[in-house]
């Protein structure tokens, strides 16, 4: 039987919550593995039927360049910085639990946590000031319509994949999940950091009661376990052949015209302006990703 929580007793015999049970870590790892295998099988079984049902690409709007910018350099730097921090956080959090020694894992963990926090702050400022914030964050009728279309597509190989704006429905859902669990991990992580010695402050282990600290650790642990699933699925989709064009766009910054027309609705992700000099791609400022739910 999987346990959900770890608790212990204090000298007065009172039960004190310590955190999540590490059974959940193993459950998340097994679930992630089953999902990856299951999805691979499911995808192969559907592949033939889907090819037959595939809709013809939309006609290319006039003047559409060969390379269409998707992620600015600033966005890519954020993404890869956050990825590195997240991987270090996951490894330093869970590998010692598995019994493998990582010397000074606490230091590695909190330093990676600080990098993650800084990258998130940078991302928020960048997203609000320089990106179309609502194209990723908006919840509106269009979002839900796209979600229903996605669900139909998943349930039936004959239902076409709905074409999205700049950010597909599944990416936005993933982003929302990351926001929730990142915030949970960051807020609880900062509280946990206050209880150890760092250059930022002297430790204060009594900042909260033992029971409250246990709750903080439990939330932090749940967020960590959730990230096992999120990161495993993210890496899996990033390396799947049919999704690699998206991964490449996070490296090179652009998508090619064919993929743009195949997967995106030019009406929802309006590409305007002239190609960037020499690259064949449009400059960042000439790309519009309008709010879809407006």
């Amino acid at each position: 039987m999987i346990e959900l929580w770890r608790s212990t007793q204090n000298p007065w015999g009172q039960d004190v919550l310590i955190g999540v049970s590490w059974d959940l870590m193993w459950a998340a790892i097994v679930t992630a593995a089953l999902f990856l295998v299951g999805h691979t099988i499911w995808y192969r079984m559907r592949a033939g039927a889907e090819a037959a049902a595939e809709a013809a690409p939309a006609p290319a709007p006039a003047g559409l360049p060969e390379r269409i910018p998707r992620h600015s350099l600033a966005s890519r730097i954020f993404h890869w910085t956050m990825s590195a921090a997240m991987l270090v956080l996951l490894i330093t959090a869970f590998v010692p639990v598995m019994g493998l020694e990582i010397p000074s894992w606490v230091t590695w963990h909190w330093v990676a946590g600080v990098v993650l926090i800084l990258s998130i702050v940078y991302h928020i400022i960048h997203a609000i000031g320089w990106q179309d914030f609502w194209s990723m964050m908006g919840f509106g009728p269009q979002f839900f319509r796209e979600g229903i279309g996605h669900l139909r597509h998943l349930m039936s190989s004959t239902a076409p994949e709905p074409k999205s704006g700049k950010y597909p429905f599944d990416h936005r859902m993933y982003h929302h999940a990351v926001i929730v669990f990142s915030l949970a991990a960051v807020v609880t992580g900062v509280i946990m950091m206050m209880r150890i010695n760092t250059p930022f402050w002297a430790q204060n282990p009594y900042i909260l009661s033992d029971q409250a600290v246990g709750l903080v650790f439990a939330i932090h642990g749940l967020a960590g376990v959730a990230f096992i699933l999120l990161i495993a699925s993210h890496i899996y989709f990033a390396i799947r052949p049919e999704k690699r064009w998206i991964t490449w766009s996070m490296i090179r910054g652009w998508v090619d015209r064919d993929h743009y027309l195949e997967h995106h609705d030019p009406a929802k992700w309006v590409v305007t302006g002239e190609p960037a000099k020499g690259s064949g791609a449009l400059a960042d400022s000439s790309v519009s990703a309008p709010r879809e739910d407006g």
């Binding site: 007793q9 010695n197 430790q203 033992d210």
Partner: protein, 333 residues
């Protein structure tokens, strides 16, 4: 019917007669099992009802783990050899007096009659928050109660800490490090040999253990190589009272001399960190010198570099500095 709690919680007592059987039992019961050697650390835990193992594996009947034997020009000491046997052993006294001296500083004659070398190096920390049953990091919890500004931490660590600030209490540990001893640990599959300095681990590696040994592992013997036999030794233990007390700070040092010059040195201190600390930088510093006053001072200063006191243990820093100075002074011309 009332539940009586004033007794050691019930457990199954298993008494193997061979290392093989002991390791098999430890492997079978994993973290439910507790290794009983001399019992001097064990019964504190059990009587306080802080540790409640389901199974106790008593090593008292394993003859092969007892005694001191000549081996590869050095000595092989069974982990169940009592500290008194070590103190009284002729070859230990003559060639490895550092170990005899350290073992003689353990507690009292009665405790040394019962306590074993394996138990002395494997014993758990004496941090009273931990031993009183507080759910601290070392106990698997989320807090170090001893490092808080309000804590009573006079005996705790000044270096090598990582969330936990408890110190290693062993007297023989620094001597074994200074003698470059090898610890032979057996698990179900094979024996593994660790340098003594690697046998002890800090909380940054695993906050719930003081040694490399995991559930299922058994320290079977300690090999003391001949390399430091008959060297110049120095051992000093500072404690609050003359006997039956753990060290505040201790130092163990071995010097290989060439005339008045220190050719080679190995120095370890305990009581300052969650593990006994080998002072390699100090060893390099003093090598090639005569151990003069300037070297003594430099050695002391170098030893405490990076030390950081808690609220009530800042005295440990000058104490450690002075013990290292005195160790170097012991071989100065």
């Amino acid at each position: 019917m009332a539940t009586i709690k004033d007794m050691i919680p019930a457990f199954d007592l298993l008494q193997p007669t061979s290392v093989e059987d002991a390791v098999a039992l430890l492997s079978e019961h994993g973290s439910d099992a507790w290794v009983l050697a001399g019992g001097l650390d064990t019964f504190d835990w059990l009587k306080d009802r802080i540790k409640r193992p389901r199974v106790i594996v008593d090593l008292g009947g394993i003859a092969e783990m007892r005694g001191i034997r000549d081996a590869q020009d050095g000595l092989e000491i069974g982990a169940m050899t009592t500290l008194t046997e070590i103190v009284n052993h002729q070859r230990v006294q003559s060639e490895y007096s550092l170990l005899a001296n350290a073992a003689e500083h353990v507690a009292t004659p009665q405790i040394r009659n019962q306590g074993t070398l394996g138990g002395n190096v494997s014993q758990d920390t004496r941090c009273w928050y931990y031993r009183s049953g507080w759910p601290c990091y070392r106990a698997g919890g989320n807090t170090c109660y001893a490092s808080a500004p309000q804590a009573v931490n006079r005996e705790h660590a000044v270096m090598g800490t990582s969330r936990c600030v408890a110190v290693n209490p062993s007297d023989t540990a620094p001597a074994l490090i200074a003698l470059d001893a090898k610890m032979i640990v057996q698990d179900r599959r094979r024996p593994s040999t660790y340098d003594a300095e690697d046998f002890f681990i800090g909380p940054s590696i695993d906050i719930t253990r003081m040694t490399v040994m995991k559930p299922g592992d058994l320290l079977t013997r300690v090999y003391v190589p001949p390399i430091w036999a008959n060297a110049n030794f120095y051992f000093e233990k500072v404690r609050d009272r003359g006997s039956w007390d753990f060290q505040l700070v201790s130092v163990a040092a071995a010097f290989r001399m060439s005339g008045n010059t220190i050719e080679q040195a190995r120095i370890a201190v305990n009581g300052v960190a969650p593990y006994p600390v080998r002072l390699e930088a100090v060893e390099r510093l003093v090598a090639g010198t005569s151990g003069d006053v300037a070297t003594q001072d430099a050695a002391g200063d170098l030893a405490v570099r990076g030390a950081r006191a808690l609220r009530h243990n800042d005295y440990k820093i000058p104490m450690m500095r002075n013990l290292v100075r005195r160790a170097v002074r012991s071989v100065s011309a």
